[in-house]
């Protein structure tokens, strides 16, 4: 992990003993010493192994399915097809995490008639070994008769196109009408219009989807899986006709999620096969399964038409947004909502007009991916700002500065931001850290680029999001935390330990956290939407504060003081007014135990609740709050070959309050590396619905040899809604990285590639075209 040259730690941190410090995470030792079991490491006696048979074509009618030979193969315990399912469908809406009524977006579990995407599951097999299960797949006889499909969003919107979803392939659509855009354009001196496109990309987590299921003595189906959401137990139970109380998801530490493990993945297949066989079943996706088996990031086509006065003030913003959902809804309606809300970026625009839609095709379905649509929006609005600056002849940073939103200003949906908006300081800090641009050397041209952003954290407020957390103190003074939150590698559980430790005066490394069990840990919702720390951190804070209050009251009695004079640190209890008056924490706890004082608390944290935005105007509140910041990049471009080398990459973010500074830097660095790949090399290419890049040698994530030193500049306004004023950073660190790279490349070559990813070939072609044009 890169260390900052001059870390920016808020002065407020001096008030904290653990919060805000760059601490070793509680999950680090287990991982470093190889002791941490991941979901795939679990085995059970008498365990079966499962495999999934997938459709090889993207659009077809199944005219025959015969599994008799597979069933007859020695060693095969079960082969399930749609005929064996009590209920054929499973929900794909935000899986079972809120009380909000789910949308009618169910997906067939196994193909019953129509194949709608390449890789759609047709049958599942459980056998004594993986090899037998794999062999059984080859014995299943399937006849798939091709059906005309639709493979791009333009064709899908034509009246005579094949219909994949509903009667018109329209999965969702929104409107935003703020002010009067015609008035705004009338006031403009210059109008800039451009279209930007983004590609399908893959989460490419290190750990493919995996799980192990078994039925216990109470008839509960237990599933140990690699997931971002233990709440999927509800949808699994619904899909099997079981009471919710009879399905239990137990997470494990997760080897990366990035949104790709929010939906139900292996769990339902495991549950069905466990129920069918009465034996434990393990299903581990291969890398190929993972490519074919979970939803991808949405490709977007975004057109900006922006009016400016001659001195660079935005007068109007008209935005047209189309995303590709694939054949099933999954998170597409919500991802589109994020992109719509984020449309004009972190700028104050009085006249906004946005039309957005998500369109079904027979390409792979799309779902959650770090940033959730706000990322694609940023790629468009930040490239548009640079293009506008060029037209206006105004410095790119200065143009942004003249339009930045400030606290109290209304964003596109009319909501007035209440927390600090430190975009300007983040821009200035990031640009300053870039330093001077090197002098060009022959065909090698250098470029600087910046992108600012606005990213919501927490769920959309009409989902009525809550998280529960439990904190308790054992009789010997040790502290336990229970939270249903999954730990996807970003230090989620460690942060909970740190929060409870701060409040109870116990070092975080001495706190035990139980998490990610849908039956025995209080449910906290997914680790997604940059909501983990915000929601679960607050729940644990509330629980720890309640316990602390009761302990403090008893300590005050002991000291003959008042509760608010009692403080907790280093496993000691003492008076703030007279620190010589002290007692060991464990002694206080023992006293409380003997007197029956409750040493535990189950707390619930509720995010702000609200209604949907107005369907006609798009006005209202979408998110509880927003994170702001900026990312700056320096690149060298070989203008002959088109190769890009990222030399410097610097993220500056106001994250409100760091809980673990080292974990924050880790989040930013990881998000930035992912953004580099998004901009330059990563692309899932579908040819008529068939994936032509189904391996990590064709799907190109950046390697360590492609990654520059990434710097993080962390500012702390302490104005967020999370614990101690924290804002979300899981997604925001990623959001501006890709457009900053794009802007740096455009700066270097003097022209722009409008279609992601910026491959050497596209860059070389753009340079040549620009030269020819003079």
């Amino acid at each position: 992990m890169n260390k900052l040259d001059e870390p920016t730690v808020a002065e407020q941190n001096v008030n904290f003993r653990q919060i805000g410090k760059p601490r070793t995470r509680t999950d680090a030792p287990g991982k470093v010493f190889g002791k941490t079991p991941y979901a795939g490491d679990y085995v059970m006696p008498d365990m079966l192994h499962a495999r999934v048979l997938r459709a090889k074509v993207p659009s077809a009618r199944m005219t025959r399915l015969d599994v008799s030979k597979a069933r007859a193969l020695p060693g095969v315990a079960s082969v399930l097809t749609f005929r064996d399912l009590k209920i054929g469908t499973v929900a794909t809406d935000i899986p079972g995490q809120t009380g909000f009524k789910r949308r009618a977006t169910d997906q067939q579990i196994l193909v019953d008639e129509l194949v709608r995407y390449q890789g759609e599951p047709i049958a599942i097999v459980a056998a004594e070994t993986v090899e037998i299960a794999q062999h059984a797949l080859s014995l299943i006889e399937v006849d798939l008769e091709p059906v005309p499909g639709v493979y791009n969003v333009f064709d899908a919107q034509k009246p005579d196109s094949p219909k994949v979803f509903g009667t018109d392939n329209l999965v969702a659509s929104y409107k935003v009408r703020k002010g009067d855009v015609e008035v705004g354009f009338a006031a403009a001196d210059v109008i800039v219009e451009n279209t930007f496109t983004t590609q399908y990309i893959e989460h490419a987590f290190l750990e493919p989807e995996v799980g192990l299921g078994w039925e216990d003595e109470q008839g509960v189906i237990n599933i140990r899986s690699s997931t971002q959401a233990v709440e999927t137990f509800r949808y699994i139970a619904d899909a099997m006709g079981l009471p919710h109380s009879k399905v239990r998801i137990r997470g494990a530490l997760v080897g990366g999620g990035f949104g790709g493990k929010c939906d139900v993945t292996v769990e339902l297949y495991i549950a069905l096969l466990t129920k069918a066989t009465g034996r434990p079943v393990r299903l581990g996706f291969t890398r190929e399964d993972s490519f074919y088996g979970h939803g991808k990031r949405h490709p977007f086509i975004i057109t900006h038409k922006t009016g400016f006065t001659r001195d660079g003030k935005i007068t109007a913003s008209k935005i047209d947004i189309t995303s590709e959902s694939g054949p099933y809804a999954f998170m597409s309606p919500y991802v589109l909502m994020y992109a719509t809300e984020a449309g004009p970026g972190p700028y104050l625009v009085d006249h906004v007009h946005i039309d957005s839609r998500s369109i079904a095709t027979n390409n792979m379905y799309t779902s959650a991916f770090r940033g959730f649509g706000a990322t694609q929006a940023c790629i468009a609005y930040e490239q548009q700002m640079d293009e506008a600056a060029k037209v206006l002849g105004i410095d790119r940073i200065e143009l942004r500065r003249r339009n930045l939103l400030k606290t109290g200003d209304a964003i596109a949906t009319g909501f007035k931001v209440q927390s600090a908006v430190w975009t300007e300081e983040c821009m200035d800090r990031a640009m300053a850290a870039l330093g001077e641009k090197p002098k060009d050397k022959g065909p090698i041209k250098y470029g600087h680029g910046l992108a600012a952003y606005q990213q919501g954290y927490g769920r959309m407020i009409w989902l009525h999001d809550t998280a529960e957390g439990w904190v308790g103190v054992e009789m010997d003074g040790t502290v336990l935390v229970r939270s249903g939150m999954t730990d996807i590698g970003a230090g989620q559980t460690s942060s909970l330990a740190q929060i409870a430790g701060e409040l109870l005066g116990i070092d975080m490394m001495d706190i035990t956290v139980y998490n990610s069990d849908s039956s025995t840990t209080p449910l906290a919702g997914t680790s997604s939407a940059s909501r983990g720390l915000y929601m679960s951190g607050n729940a644990v804070r509330l629980a720890a504060e309640a316990v602390r209050d009761r302990l403090a009251a008893r300590a005050a009695q002991h000291f003959g003081s008042t509760a608010d004079d009692v403080d907790f640190a280093n496993a000691q209890v003492f008076l703030k007014s007279d620190p010589r008056k002290t007692m060991p924490f464990k002694e206080l706890v023992a006293t409380c135990a003997s007197e029956g004082i409750h040493r535990a608390e189950l707390a619930i944290f509720r995010a702000p609740f609200g209604d949907w935005i107005d369907p006609e105007t798009g006005q209202g509140q979408v998110h509880p709050d927003y994170t702001y910041g900026a990312h700056a990049v320096q690149v060298a471009v070989d203008t002959e070959t088109g190769e890009v080398t990222i030399l410097k990459s610097i993220g500056a973010h106001d994250i409100g309050q760091a809980v673990n500074m080292a974990a924050v830097e880790g989040q930013i660095e990881g998000g930035v590396a992912q953004g580099h790949g998004y901009a330059l090399s990563e692309e899932l290419i579908y040819k008529d619905g068939c994936l032509v890049t189904p391996s990590l040698s064709e799907y190109l994530c950046p390697t360590s040899m492609d990654s520059p030193r990434i710097e993080s500049i962390v500012l702390e306004s302490r104005s967020g809604l999370g614990p101690f004023g924290a804002k979300g950073i899981g997604e925001p660190g990623h959001t501006p990285a890709a457009p900053a790279v794009a802007n740096a490349v455009a700066d270097a070559i003097g022209t722009r590639v409008f279609d992601f990813p910026l491959t050497p070939e596209k860059i070389a072609r753009a340079v040549r075209t620009a030269r020819k044009a003079g």
Binding site: T641, E643, L680, I685, S697, M705, P760
Partner: protein, 271 residues
């Protein structure tokens, strides 16, 4: 077992397995028997004697990078080894394996062609040495018979008045499959180009020498104009395909760019 092989489907020698095993897993088919030769100590090692460099077939890519003598006798091969796949692959992939896989994008082949390397093939009935130039007969085909084992690669130690370069154009820096790989070797004698070898990777069915480009240079005094003409000849001789990494059109353009650039750099280093 190799000596008894009748066809390539019967038995194949296995080096580091970084290509063959991956291919077998992806395609589901492969030779009936694999004979692992990657761990045979007698096949691994680098010797420099009598003006000839000889490396054993099981020598790994990392072995090339770790031997300090290689910078003197095969700087261009070191350049290539340095950008070959990624660290883990380099530690186990063998030089012979890279040749035998027959990929047109094999990164060690252009520099070995530029160095004028030969390969030694041994079978039950004896041993023969064939030039690497001409070794490949088409896409993943070669003059090696199924019962022959490639045991060594050798080339003459370059003369003082020579220079060589390699460039790998990939979609990313690490673990990339080459879009275009170019290697050049030039030696000067009395102010004119004496030996010129220009090898092109990933722009034809196999890695190839551009003899027409070489002929442009041979016996002439180097100049920018001459280099540009040689690069044009190399471009004309290349027959790249479109694939997911790049279009044939782009590859052709890059042959021009890279041949020109590498020849210029090589000649500048000699002046």
């Amino acid at each position: 077992m190799i000596a008894k092989a009748k066809t390539a489907n019967d038995v194949a020698p296995l080096g580091g397995g970084t290509n063959l095993v991956v291919e077998m897993r992806a395609s589901g088919v492969g030779p009936a028997t694999l004979v692992s030769v990657g761990q045979l100590a007698g096949l691994r090692g680098i010797t420099i004697a009598d003006g000839t460099v000889t490396i054993g077939a099981a020598t790994t890519v990392s072995d090339i990078l770790r031997d300090p003598r290689m910078k003197q006798v095969a700087a261009v091969l070191v350049e290539s080894a340095d950008v070959f796949a990624g660290q883990m692959i380099r530690n186990t992939a063998t030089v012979a394996g890279n040749i035998c896989c027959g990929s047109p994008a094999a990164d060690l082949v252009p520099p070995l062609l530029a160095l004028g390397a030969s390969v030694t093939l041994r079978s039950g009935s004896g041993e023969r040495t064939v030039p690497l130039d001409g070794y490949f007969t088409g896409y993943k085909t070669s003059v090696r018979k199924p019962d022959e084992l490639l045991t060594a690669i050798s080339w003459p130690v370059p003369t003082a008045k020579s220079a060589s370069r390699f460039y790998k154009l990939g979609r990313r820096r690490g673990d990339a499959i080459t879009m275009v790989g170019v290697s050049v070797f030039v030696s000067l004698k009395d102010g004119v180009c004496d030996t010129v070898r220009i090898a092109l990777g990933a722009v034809g069915p196999c890695v190839m020498r551009s003899k027409k480009a070489e002929a442009v240079m041979q016996g002439k005094a180097p100049s920018a104009d001459l280099i540009a003409k040689a690069a044009q000849a190399a471009t004309a001789e290349s027959t790249p395909i479109d694939d997911i990494r790049a279009s044939g059109e782009y590859r052709k353009e890059q042959v021009q760019v890279l041949v020109q650039r590498l020849l210029t750099q090589s000649l500048e280093s000699l002046s």
